[in-house]
Symmetry: C2
Subunit: 336 residues, 2 copies
């Protein structure tokens, strides 16, 4: 069993109001590099920032790291277009940072990266993979890909108030600049990923298609971005068993999840980490919700019988990431 | 505790007679990529070959992997100029494949890679590092670097008969093409690495200097190539505690090891894995001797009380790497 983190960037994240992944828009490119370091090392190493939302909600990578400390799962990070250096070792599949989807061809590396990821997924010596993502702005590109494929599911947001109309506007512009309409990339996932996606989506889809070809069990650990990756997989004609593991926060935000999963023939596992302590209560308040493999990690924590320990372990990770969080957390840890 | 594998290439390895790392000279570029996969996954994934010497001696990476299976240590692979793809996640420090040292500037990336590695070594959240290398042809470049620094120690070889006079010839040509003489790079390690080295040496030296700056314990796990890296560290003016962990096979081959270590102020640990079973008896016959962190891994196995289990665990790794080795090995395993 191995957890794969597919980490990348899209300039789409810099459109004002699109993403909560990073306290300051100028630092958003560091978020996936920092997330990968937090999961690998339990702290940032090369990255100058620890990702938090503008209101102080900590990155879901802290939860994935906490579960890793509890269960010891192996991690593999794939460079799906990082722009900032990371101290986390990564696999190169030829992906490059994605451009704004309002440009005509935001992800020219999509076909090559899909194919390299497919070969990698097929060759990995694992029985089971859990695949997560970290790409700020990724729900907007996921929405564009879903629309290009002709799928009508909605996407979630890392913000408490989903900027739905802004996203729809961006997607409409993206379709137009690529000369496409909703549904015109149906059964042509390579077109959807290349002309409307981010570099993470074709890499997740490629890994999944390859792993399914090799009869490896795949769980996509995440929210609507992984739903979009699953749509790419199905539109590529891959029909093996496929699961989605997500958080209760995401499931609550997207009532259409069950119908979408059924349409894509996905088994869905929803896990509630039961967060109550500050600053994790921001999750219950509707921030972040998913990302960096959080839903997959929580599923593993539940399977291994340590779900009840995740909150305390996450607070412990946060106290190491951000000494200021320690004070707020001490009382909780003492009482645990 | 983390084991760092610094993996790279130098065209120097393609000089006929220089290296035993690869059954066929045309495949030698795959050796470090394959070694990294064997340590990470216990098998090759992207790499088309499993490195063995021309006489069938298995790569030391199999031993390092076996110790990893016994002890569970974390691995970090640094890309120090790989030429072939690897499925192992790697850190990028800006190193590129090294050219033949008989060219005028074989490693132009040495200064930048040294500095990036130094920053990485300083930032790693570890108390202790064990650093190993895999670079075919590396003893010849190590010899050239030692000579440029003015050090007179000899180097070992992965071949049973060390092609010493061939190496001396290559080194003499390398010094000449760079306009240098023995000792002309003393206290100028950046010149030695750039004009006479391979890309692995400055990365090992940079990691070590950075880690020593951060008071991280460093053990160089390997043979005379690591001795050459230690010389770069000392010539850079870094005087912290530094250890070398190597195999009994290497120590036997290089009687000058103790004096060299004393001159460079290195604590030396020599570990004998006691290999007897085929094909590991090739080690006792003087092949391979060291590489891919083997000496460091054996030291860890000894420290954790599992040294006696390393032979059986290595045979198990080999049986998975090469089904043909299984037959030869079965009797031994049954008797163990």
């Amino acid at each position: 069993m191995r957890v794969i983190l597919v980490a990348g960037t899209t300039q789409t994240a810099t459109i004002p109001g699109i993403s909560a992944a990073g306290a300051d828009p100028s630092l958003v490119g560091h978020t996936p590099s920092a997330d990968a370091e937090i999961i690998e090392y339990g702290e940032t190493v090369r990255s100058p920032v620890t990702p938090v939302s503008p209101t102080g909600c900590p990155t879901p990578a802290a939860i994935t790291r906490a579960v890793r400390e509890l269960t010891g799962f192996d991690v593999l990070t794939v460079d799906a277009g990082l722009v900032e250096p990371t101290a986390t070792p990564t696999i190169d599949v030829g992906a490059r940072p994605g451009r704004d989807i309002r440009e005509s061809e935001p992800v020219p590396t999509a076909p090559g990266a899909f194919e390299a990821a497919r070969r990698m997924g097929k060759a990995l010596p694992e029985d089971e993979l859990v695949i997560g993502e970290t790409v700020p702005g990724g729900t907007t590109t996921a929405l564009a890909v879903l629309r290009a494929l002709g799928e009508t599911f909605p996407v979630s947001s890392s913000l408490p108030e989903n900027p739905t109309s802004l996203k729809e506007e961006v997607v409409a512009e993206a379709l137009e600049s690529s000369g496409m309409e909703p549904g015109s990339a149906a059964h042509k996932p390579e077109l959807a990923a290349r002309y409307l996606g981010d570099p993470v989506l074709p890499v997740v889809a490629g890994l999944t298609v390859g792993a399914l070809e090799a009869d490896i069990d795949v769980t996509l650990g995440g929210g609507t971005q992984l739903l979009s990756a699953a749509a790419l997989v199905r539109h590529a004609g891959a029909d093996g068993d496929l699961s989605l593991a997500t958080t209760s926060y995401l499931a609550e935000d997207v009532p259409e999840l069950e119908a979408a999963a059924e349409a894509l023939d996905l088994d869905v596992t929803v896990t509630d980490p039961g967060f109550e302590a500050h600053p994790l209560d921001r999750y219950a308040a509707g921030e972040a919700k998913e990302g960096a493999g959080m839903g997959g990690a929580l599923m593993l924590a539940d399977r291994m019988g340590v779900l009840d320990d995740v909150e305390a372990a996450t607070l412990d990770v946060l106290s190491r990431l951000d000494p200021e969080a320690v004070d707020a957390v001490d009382g909780v840890e003492d009482g645990a």
